[in-house]
């Protein structure tokens, strides 16, 4: 298990993203798969900073990564305001009508679309977002 903690600053999110992409590439996940994993973690961590902590610095955002032979699980946890991710399941807009295009609120939709499982719970006063994705990794060397 890998655990990372960043301060709740948006400029720190790319550090988490780079680490996730590096881990994915080290597991021989292809570039598209690596990008999608980085994207999901970045969206989750950004959501925490924006919505749980309201862009206030000085708080901790924790990421745990559990690496299994056929699955990657990410847990993002924080001590900020809880979020409701249950409602967001699709992006509703008319591609021919610019006024209907969303400018925000796409992050949770992206997570749910790309990850196999997404769950959110409050555990001992901390919000925990859990995302998992089945993967094919390089077989362990003999």
């Amino acid at each position: 298990m890998i655990r990372m903690v960043i301060e709740s600053r948006l400029e720190n999110v790319s550090l988490i993203g780079g680490a996730v992409r590096g881990i994915a590439e080290n597991l021989s996940i292809d570039s598209m798969g690596s990008y999608h994993l980085e994207l999901c973690v970045v969206e989750a961590v950004t959501n925490v900073i924006k919505h749980a902590y309201h862009l206030e610095a000085g708080h901790s955002v924790e990421l745990e990564i559990l690496i299994q032979t056929d699955r990657l699980t990410f847990k993002v946890n924080d001590s900020g305001d809880s979020m409701d991710i249950s409602k967001i399941s699709s992006l509703q807009f008319d591609p021919s009508n610019v006024k209907t295009l969303p400018e925000r609120g796409m992050g949770t939709f992206i997570l749910k679309s790309l990850m196999d499982e997404v769950g959110y719970e409050i555990v001992k006063g901390r919000n925990v977002l859990t995302m998992s994705k089945s993967i094919k990794t390089r077989a362990p060397s003999a």
Binding site: S14, G17, Y35, L39, V42, T46, F93, K99, M106, I110
Partner: protein
């Protein structure tokens, strides 16, 4: 964020030089796009050749520019990496934007001889 800009026959070509358009850089990018539109640029090519990573915040900034220019002009996109393109496809924004494989093709869309 650093952005390269050039005018080709009245078309503004904007090329972000940073590899990421994400929550940390999207606000700055959006402000720059707003400034260009506010100063009268109505035909814009957004060249994403150097962008390795975009998230929903970055995409939102691009959408914001499109909404700002509205019926007064047009923004087209070129040179998107395959990975970043998957974000446009996932969110169906590939149905909203005209996306070209090269800057040359994007300029032709405005009827410009290259």
């Amino acid at each position: 964020m650093q952005v390269n800009e050039k005018k080709i026959s009245g078309v503004l070509v904007v090329e972000p030089l940073g590899a990421r358009i994400d929550a940390a850089t999207a606000t700055d990018f959006k402000q720059k796009m707003n400034e260009w539109i506010n100063t009268g640029n109505r035909r814009i090519v957004l060249n994403l050749a150097k962008v390795d990573f975009m998230d929903s915040s970055g995409l939102g900034a691009v959408i914001s520019a499109l909404k700002k220019i509205g019926n007064k002009g047009k923004i087209v996109i070129c040179c998107i990496k395959e990975t970043v393109m998957s974000l446009f496809h996932l969110t169906r924004m590939d149905r909203v934007f005209d996306i070209f494989s090269s800057e040359e093709e994007a300029l032709k869309a405005f009827g410009e001889k290259v």
